[in-house]
């Protein structure tokens, strides 16, 4: 039995040797869509995109959110898929700078557009971002998120 423990310790040591080089493990996320005015929501979305914070962004996503992202990602996805899609997306296209240039807080169909500066495989480029919101009950949900 001791032998097994020695092996396990050895294994952990080996594992730890490279562990530091990898990103942290994915944290569990719980969507929370309760929000106040659409301006606040848009601001939070802006922060999330700027910081590539998928967990925060996922709060405003549900299965009615339409995605149109670079890399031929377009359509409606479940929250499960959306989470990893966005995670992978921000890993490939590393956000350098982002800000909404135009915000229209219409009562029924608020939307915002902006320019995203990103780096991909050492190359810098920019993309246009379009985010529209929709009221579902008490909450604001992203109805469309385009980054192209």
């Amino acid at each position: 039995m001791i032998k097994i423990y020695v092996y396990i310790l050895l294994g952990l040591f080996l594992f730890n040797g490279t562990f530091a080089q990898n990103d942290k493990l994915i944290q569990n996320f719980k969507p929370n869509t309760k929000s106040d005015s659409n301006l606040i929501v848009i601001s939070e979305i802006e922060e999330s995109i700027k910081n590539s914070d998928v967990i925060k962004l996922a709060r405003f996503i549900n299965s009615k959110t339409y995605f149109s992202l670079m890399g031929n990602i377009n359509g409606y996805y479940t929250t499960n898929q959306a989470f990893y899609l966005l995670e992978d997306f921000f890993k490939v296209y590393k956000v350098q700078l982002f800000k909404f240039n135009q915000i229209n807080s219409f009562e029924n169909n608020p939307y915002a557009t902006g320019t995203l500066y990103y780096e991909n495989k050492g190359r810098r480029n920019k993309a246009q971002v379009y985010v529209s919101l929709k009221r579902v009950g008490e909450n604001w949900i992203i109805s469309q998120l385009s980054i192209n």
Partner: protein
């Protein structure tokens, strides 16, 4: 001090002893650790070296890039030149030997080998005389030459850049020119399967892993941007023909690359270390005493291994393919260990291994394990199993649900039987899921059975029924009490039925493990496909919702965003800017290029892009489903930004928005660019798009087949738009609006009927300003043929996987490939059944294909005739042919083309010709056949990109002038009644079902026929080994009855004859021996008699030599008595046991062979041992007889299981024969080894006696260990010396 050193020595020896045997593993692990550290050091060194020598590194990198890129261009150039040479020589040889030179020319240049090239042939005067079907160049005039002959150059066309060359070939004293072009860069991009991607830029970018741009202009200057590097493209004549610009490597990205690479290498090293540790732990694993401990150990190892793979992103890191994209499947289960199809597959492999081991251990535990002594533990386990079982069923359903819902893949939407690789991986995942769950569920059933009964794996109906009942009740309770069980009652019934059937088979029939696996695999496939189908039906229902969301998504804001974004793309793109200012550019093509790259094409929106000059006059554009204004002068005003012109109809909810923007250069308006979108329900999903312009990225088409869908849009309860060929009546509309909708989402579901078809309808209500907008999307219920097709589509893929898995498993177990009689029968039945059915199916398919083709041809012909008639009439009323043709198109709505000689003079689909997507020159094959071979009409297959379509040409006369009229399938949707897809669906579904029935019945039949033959074979084998008690019990009739009865009779006769022979032999032996004895005894008796007679005579005669004679006689008599004694000893020695035949053989093999003889009898023989091989030296035949005798005794004692266990004990082998027969009564246990004792009606009772005698003679023994009503155990002891 001494104590301390002693303790140290003891510790060291303890450690050495404990880890003895692991030395190798430790050293490898240590080596792995060193490698890990070394890679880190090497990486650091490399990074430092790069930092210190960055400049020279960059120079070297750029040099390598240049060489690599130049090489790519050289390859293309060489291909071009070699093709040119080949064409030239073919032309020379073909034309010189042919009488019909023009025909030969056209035929030659249209050969399939030249399809990738654009070929034009010019006469000596520079006029075009021949061109091939892929022709893109088409100058009517060759001169002035764009380059000298034999020199390669880049040629820019409207939509493509080509690598071209001009050369001369001589024919009949004339010089003809060949213009050969190879397209290397398409300017436009389409998102569909027909699009043929040609991009040397992408090829080079992929190769050198750096952003690349290519300028195909020889006059472009190198870049001045310090972050980029330019170099020239040189042709075969050492002239500059273009410029390549690449991004210079950055130190940051390079260092990141090194770090990534090092991280990958270290991950692999760690994994390797872990695998080695695993192999080192194998012995400890084997030495674990209980199955539970073994399973826990294995499970822990597998979990850690999987976590490591996940953390290191192996193998996803090394694979760049759709199988690693979360869009194709992902779930947050397990922190992302199933976040893509590939990760899911890897996880599935581990889960399947664990589940398989669980099943195997459960089976072993059932057969050999000891029951729990504590009733509390047993009871708790029973409860646990009853709770776990339905939970696992639900978990299985949840997994399949996730496979369907958390994926954008559509398993049943399209007709294609052979899926692409991503879908294939998911099919494998579905099968593995089903297998894992079924292994665990069956394992639980086996454990349940073990706990309630100690009949091991002996089949007892009562036990089976108890297990079944409890499982059934617990599953039903769970289903009924669950709010959301995830499956329906039919699914539950199928699950339980398959699980219980499999459980029954495993319990009832003792057969090889591979057969169990086959049954489990097929049962898993059945369950998982049924669930997949069920959830897909639900998903299709959800897809209707997405269609409704799509309709609602297109609001004014989104449309305006798309339009302004598209226009800005044109302005911000450098290469586009350059093109905009050129005077020689085809603006139609430019507009099309931008349209193809935008979301206007991606989302199949009826739209346009147009370019105007500064005065508002149109220069060019591309439109589809939306007319744009030719002159916008009145719209131009003082605006600097994007302005919108909204032409929407709010009453009908048709959205029609235009955007305009000025392109200003140095303060002066150069151009105006306009774009527009027309969104309406009636034209949803690219309805007006030709096939070759469709987009695979349009969401609506991805989710659902629009042909099955009906859409109705209401504004304030009034129908304003509809999609499809029907609309609801008043009653139906009333029903729709009376429906109770969800209070939060404002949506709901209902059923609606159109004609004979039932539809599932989804309703969603939204508000736009003050208007209530209601969208209703209805889809037809699937027909049975589709359900059958869906089921078999996946089931057959699974069957192929199962066949491959079983073949691999069987391959490792079968040492010699041999095809049994049963297999031959089975193959024969399958061959004679499947072959004609397959031929019939193919024949029917072929007939249908031909019929379909004829129908299309006839349809095109009819359309053409209609157009011709109307053209004649319209042209006679109208002086302009163009006007007449437009009128005919508007009235008939049939697309057609009109050619005069080789030139297109009218087309209904002008925009596609204007942009250069289709040649405006007639197909050369058509031209030749019609003009030279005098065909009145010609029918052929043409292509746009990779989209093939039928095309019909005919010579017509309009006002005494000859024209060529063309109608094709590309722009005229066929009304072909016979749908090949529908037929294929029915054919595939029904034939698959037939195939399953054929396989099933052939297997049964083959089994039935071969079974008696198999039993006969085994019985003959047993007979050959000396078992004369073998008998074949059967219910056969006819010839087989005679054969089997004959065999039994033969066995009886043999036995009787053997007994008689033995008697005769014994008698004969006795007689012979008596004769021998008499003869031998007589010899010494005769001299004894003679000498005694002589002594008596001498005594009576009172002779003086009596004393002397007495001595002589005594001596003679004594000597003969000694002789007699010797004779008696010889005979005694002879009467001992017959000579033995000792030889070396493997005891395991002998036992296995013997157990195989009884395969068809109602007895299962298990052999277990510490080793796979025990080579002994003994009399093989004697031992065989002893073992057969013991087996036969067990069978006769109503036993159906014998466990043979071999143990090594010092210099002996102990072989335990344990059966589960009715045992030996206590009163007889002391007598079983006595001669002539038997409890059987037949037999001499010598078997055990002889066995004991023989074994004793070879220093072994046979002992009765124990006996009871539950069974008997004998122990055979054999001497064993290691060889």
């Amino acid at each position: 001090m001494d104590n301390k050193s002693t303790i140290n020595k003891l510790n060291k020896s303890y450690l050495v002893k404990y880890f003895k045997g692991d030395g190798k593993v430790f050293s490898i692990v240590f080596f792995v650790l060193i490698l890990l550290i070394l890679t880190g050091i090497v990486a650091e060194e490399q990074i430092n070296s790069i930092k210190n020598n960055w400049k020279s590194f960059v120079t070297e990198e750029l040099n390598d890039m240049q060489i690599s890129v130049t090489e790519e261009f050289k390859i293309k150039e060489n291909f071009l030149i070699s093709t040119l040479n080949k064409l030239k020589s073919s032309l020379q040889s073909e034309l010189n030997k042919s009488d019909e030179t023009y025909k030969s020319l056209i035929k030659l240049i249209n050969q399939p080998g030249y399809d990738d090239f654009s070929i034009e042939i010019y006469a000596p005067n520079g006029k075009l005389v021949g061109w091939n079907k892929s022709s893109k160049v088409l100058h009517n005039e060759l001169f002035p030459l764009p380059a000298t002959t034999g020199e390669s150059f880049f040629l820019e066309k409207d939509l493509v850049y080509c690598y071209s060359i001009i050369d001369i070939f001589h024919f009949q004293n004339d010089e003809f020119f060949i213009f050969l072009s190879l397209p290397i860069e398409k300017k436009y991009k389409l998102n569909n399967k027909f699009y043929e991607k040609i991009s040397i830029t992408d090829l080079i970018t992929e190769k050198i892993q750096t952003s690349t741009s290519i300028d195909f202009n020889p006059f472009t200057s190198p870049t001045v941007d310090g972050r980029k590097y330019s170099f020239e493209i040189i042709n075969n004549k050492n002239k500059k023909i273009g410029l390549v610009t690449v991004d210079k490597p950055t130190i940051k990205s390079h260092i990141n690359n090194i770090k990534d690479f090092t991280s990958s290498v270290q991950s692999i090293i760690v994994l390797l270390g872990f695998v080695i540790i695993g192999s080192g732990l194998r012995k400890d694993y084997k030495n674990l005493k209980t199955y539970f401990a073994k399973f826990s150990f294995l499970l822990t190892y597998l979990i850690v291994f999987r976590i490591l793979l996940f953390v290191f992103s192996i193998p996803s890191k090394f694979i760049n393919s759709p199988i690693t994209i979360p869009a194709n499947f992902s779930s947050t289960f397990g922190f992302g260990i199933v976040k893509s199809p590939l990760e899911f597959f890897v996880t599935n492999i581990f889960v399947t291994i664990a589940a398989l081991q669980f099943f195997r251990y459960s089976l072993k535990y059932l057969r050999e394990g000891k029951r729990f002594k504590s009733k509390i533990i047993s009871f708790s386990l029973l409860i646990l199993i009853l709770v776990l079982f339905p939970l696992l069923l639900r978990a299985f359903a949840a997994s399949i649900q996730s496979v369907v819902f958390d994926s954008k893949l559509r398993y049943f939407k399209d007709f294609e039987i052979l899926p692409d690789f991503t879908v294939l991986i998911m099919h494998t995942n579905i099968l593995l899921l089903g297998v894992s769950f079924l292994f665990v569920l069956i394992g639980l059933c086996l454990l349940f059975k073990k706990i309630i009964s100690n009949n091991n794996d002996q089949f007892v109906l009562k036990d089976f029924l108890i297990v079944t009942s409890f499982i059934f009740i617990s599953s039903c309770i769970f289903y009924l009490s669950s709010k959301n069980p995830l499956y329906n009652i039919i699914n539950l019934a199928v699950f339980l039925l398959t699980i219980l059937i499999v459980f029954f088979i495993i319990n009832r029939y003792q057969t090889s493990r591979i057969k169990y696996y086959v049954i489990i695999l097929f049962a898993s496939s059945l369950n998982s496909v049924i669930l997949l189908n069920y959830f897909d039906t639900l998903r299709e229902r959800e897809s209707i919702k997405n269609v409704a969301f799509e309709i609602n998504r297109f609001n004014d804001q989104l449309i305006k965003f798309y339009l302004s974004d598209n226009i800005n793309q044109i302005y911000t793109n450098q290469s586009e800017q350059n093109l905009l200012l050129r005077k020689d550019i085809n603006f139609n093509s430019l507009a099309f290029i931008n349209w193809s790259r935008s979301n206007l094409h991606q989302e199949e929106l009826n739209s346009y892009i147009a370019i105007y000059d500064r005065n508002g006059k149109i220069l060019g554009g591309f439109r589809i489903g939306f007319d744009h204004k030719e002159n916008i002068k009145q719209l131009l005003g003082k605006f600097n930004d994007v302005i919108f012109l909204d032409e929407s109809n709010s009453d009908s909810l048709v959205k029609k928005i235009n955007a305009f923007s000025k392109y200003i250069e140095q303060g002066v308006t150069q151009l105006v660019v306009s774009s527009g979108i027309n969104f309406e329900v009636t034209k949803l999903g690219g309805l007006g798009f030709p096939e070759f312009l469709r987009s695979d990225l349009n969401i609506i088409n991805q989710y659902i087949n629009l042909e099955k869908v009906k859409i109705f849009q209401f504004k304030d309860r009034k129908l304003v738009q509809f999609y499809g060929d029907v609309y609801p009546n008043r009653e139906q509309i009333k029903h729709l609006f009376e429906l109770q909708l969800d209070s939060i989402y404002n949506d709901g579901w209902t059923k609606i009927k159109f004609g004979d078809e039932n539809y599932e309808a989804y309703i969603i209500k939204t508000f736009d300003d003050d208007s209530e907008i209601t969208n209703v999307v209805a889809v037809a219920d699937n027909k049975f043929s589709w359900s059958l097709f869906n089921f078999f589509k996946v089931f057959i893929i699974h069957s192929i996987f199962i066949f491959i898995i079983i073949s691999i498993l069987s391959f490792f177990r079968i040492k010699k490939l041999s095809i049994s009689f049963k297999s031959k029968l089975l193959f024969l039945f399958l061959f004679i059944s499947i072959l004609p059915i397959t031929f019939l199916g193919l024949y029917n398919r072929n007939i249908l294909d031909e019929r379909s083709s004829i129908n299309i041809k006839n349809e095109l012909k009819q359309k053409l005739l209609l157009v011709e008639t109307n053209l004649n009439s319209a042209f006679s009323q109208n002086s302009k042919l163009g006007e007449a043709a437009k009128k005919v198109y508007k009235s008939l709505n049939i697309s057609f083309n009109l050619f005069e000689e080789t030139n297109l003079i009218y087309t209904s689909d002008k925009q596609f010709y204007d942009v250069g997507l289709i040649n405006d020159k007639i197909n050369s094959l058509v031209y030749y056949n019609i003009n030279y071979d005098r065909f009145r009409e010609f029918y052929l297959t043409e292509k746009i990109e990779n989209y093939s379509f039928q095309s019909f040409y005919k010579i017509i006369r309009l006002k005494d002038k000859q024209y060529i009229l063309n109608v094709n399938q590309a722009f005229n949707k066929s009304n072909n009644v016979i749908s090949i897809s529908e037929f294929d669906i029915v054919l595939f579904g029904i034939y698959s079902l037939t195939l399953v029935i054929i396989i099933f019945s052939s297997t049964l039949l083959a089994n039935q026929i071969s079974s008696p033959i198999q039993r006969l074979t085994k019985a003959a084998e047993a007979l050959g080994r000396g078992d004369l008690n073998v008998k074949i019990e059967h219910n056969e009739k006819g010839e087989l009855k005679e054969l089997l009865d004959g065999f039994n009779k033969m066995t009886d006769e043999l036995k009787k004859n053997q007994i008689e022979l033995a008697e005769l032999e014994r008698e004969s032996a006795w007689k012979e021996m008596a004769k021998q004895v008499a003869h031998e005894i007589k010899n010494p008796l005769t001299p004894m008699k003679l000498t005694l007679q002589q002594l008596i005579f001498t005594f009576k005669e009172k002779r003086e030599d009596f004393d002397k004679l007495f001595d002589k006689v005594s001596s003679t008599i004594l000597s003969q008595i000694e002789n007699l004694n010797q004779i008696a000893s010889e005979f005694s020695r002879f009467a001992k046991m017959p000579s033995m035949n000792f030889e070396k053989f493997d005891l395991m093999i002998l036992l296995t062979e013997l157990s195989n003889i009884y395969l068809n009898e109602k007895i299962k023989i298990n052999i277990s041992a510490d080793s796979n091989e025990y080579v002994i030296e003994n009399d093989k035949n004697q031992l065989s007889r002893i073992f057969i005798n013991l087996i036969r005794n067990s069978i006769q004692a109503s036993g159906n299981l014998i466990n043979i266990l071999i143990k090594k004990s010092d210099k002996y082998l102990e072989i335990y024969f344990e059966d589960n027969g009715k045992g030996i009564s206590e009163e007889f246990r002391d007598k079983i080894f006595l001669e002539n004792f038997s409890t059987k009606k037949q037999g001499m009772g010598l078997g055990l006696k002889i066995a004991k005698k023989y074994l004793n003679s070879v220093n072994g023994d046979i002992i009765l260990v124990n006996s009871s009503q539950k069974g008997t155990t004998f122990k055979i002891i054999l001497p064993y010396g290691k060889e």
